[in-house]
Amino acid sequence: MNTEHETPEVVRDWLQARARQRPDSRDIVDAALLEIAGTPQRRPGWVRASSAANALVGRGEAIPRRVAWLGLLALAVGVLTIGYVVAGAGRPRPLNVIVPPSEPSPAAEATARPAVVFGPTGLIVYTKTDEIHTLDPVTGQDQLVLQRPGVTGYIVGWSQDGKRILASDGTASYSMGPDGSDLRTVPLIDPFAWSPDASRFAHVVGKEVEVTDVHDPITKGFPLPPTKGLGQLGPWSPDGSSILAIACDMADTCSRSYSESLWRLDQASRTWHRLAPNGPGAIEAASWSPDGTRIVFSIRDRVRSVIWIVDPAGSGLTYLTPDATFSIGASWSPDGRMLAFLSNRDGTSRAYTMRVDGTAVQRVTSGRLNDFGPVWSPDGRWLAVVRSDAPALDADTGAAIWIVGADGSGEREVATGKGLGGLAWQPAVEVSAAPAPPLP
């Protein structure tokens, strides 16, 4: 084949033949219609202004509508301009800076700021398309620690001791110091999971789960759970003795099969324990409590996502968010008493907190923008979220990282840019007794 000249035609034909293999799409419409039943339409300002003008002028009036329109428009522009100048808000803003609903003056902001500040070691690691950065939320210092051209996103986290950044993209997993030093790269064999101290990793090889030590060529093999497929490995329990896995019974390859089960591998006894049976949805965001005695996860189907909690023995399985909305991404507070999570129960994706029994639900963030995350600061007094006006984050979407007190106070933007994705706050590590600098 003359690939130079024929490739476009070959690609075109291949794409068309491949697309013909899809199943019928009709049930997607049914699911979408269910979902829009509770979704209001978003009407931009110009639409509302148009409706208002139509109502004001009315059809068939003697005044031509276009003239009335222009008059209204000129009036609105004049009023806005005067207000803008009088308020002194005419300074230019950089692109992609998400403007908070109301921006307090610096003096008022200083007064409103909570007295407790971040610890000196609480770096936030975040992803920005093909880059991984660390950010000191106290000083604002931002450092690029890894860039892999061509990568479109990473999963990032910290080792339990806060001394290493752990990340993975579609091709490899990485472990590195907080400044990007001592980078260790493991070719990704999915599913894959780092141990809490980043000294070992688990992955699936053939018919086994292999646990490999990064320092010594020591590998232990464990059987796969008794299911047809294994979708995800991890996370490990905080003490490193157990590893969670998401499995499925519907297909050899788990991928949004919507019938997944949650399992725990006890390495000492080499046995698997099923923590959640095959349910009506995909299992996501499984997370251990800091003391390793509870596990939260969410089960998602086409119209809802519900957060569940279970203990490592598989007992006490119960749901925490029983409403028919999306609640996802539960994150444990450092003391293990609270969970932060995202919910769209009021139409916008916002951060909430609740006790681990599902009570005392409190909305933490507000405003018209969507929040993603959230993650806790090491002292448990702050949450960090990624905020955007888009319903989902992607490489072309402007977004910003915001920090807000766990009670909803002291909200502030600490980073902005396109392609922001996941983030994780460095766990508390042993630090010197030097006093923490105040939040700028």
Binding site: M1, V10, R22, V47, T152, S168, L188, D394
Partner: protein, 186 residues
Amino acid sequence: MEADLVARAQAGDRLAFERLAVASVDRLNAVAFSILGDVHLAEDATQQALLNIWRDLPGLRDHARFEAWSYRLVVRACYAEARRRPNWLPNVMERPAHEPLASDGRGSVADRDQLERGFRRLSIEQRAVVVLHFYADLPLDEVAEVLGVPVGTTHSRLNRAMNALRAALAADARPPSFEAAAEREL
């Protein structure tokens, strides 16, 4: 007809939106599947795109631009799906045993396998350009508009993608590599 449905759905007419969705879903799902290469992820992305179309439709000024605008939303939904599980491996739907490969006189089974592998290695942004240009038949300036990126960026993404796919096809003639062997292991 479509413009009329768009106008009515824009005003909040759910019946009109349903007809619009039925008329568009196959086109959108085909694009999502072509980009993501996974039936389930594509269905999720298409469903999310339909939801976003409903929600943001009042902001669409030019009804005649509905098709291009809907492509933009489905591509964004694909980005979000890929980002939600960045370490996803495409779950290419298994072809039923009784269904023969479509025979179009071009490309062998080996070519298709090489294309599949090469396509999996492209970034999600490169896939979007390839799919919108070669599958949806959009000219590159319109692809740029749909993706919200400069035309030059679209050209460079397409060039890189095509070079990678040519390399994948050319690799057909080479002996199996360790990488290919490892892939078979998986």
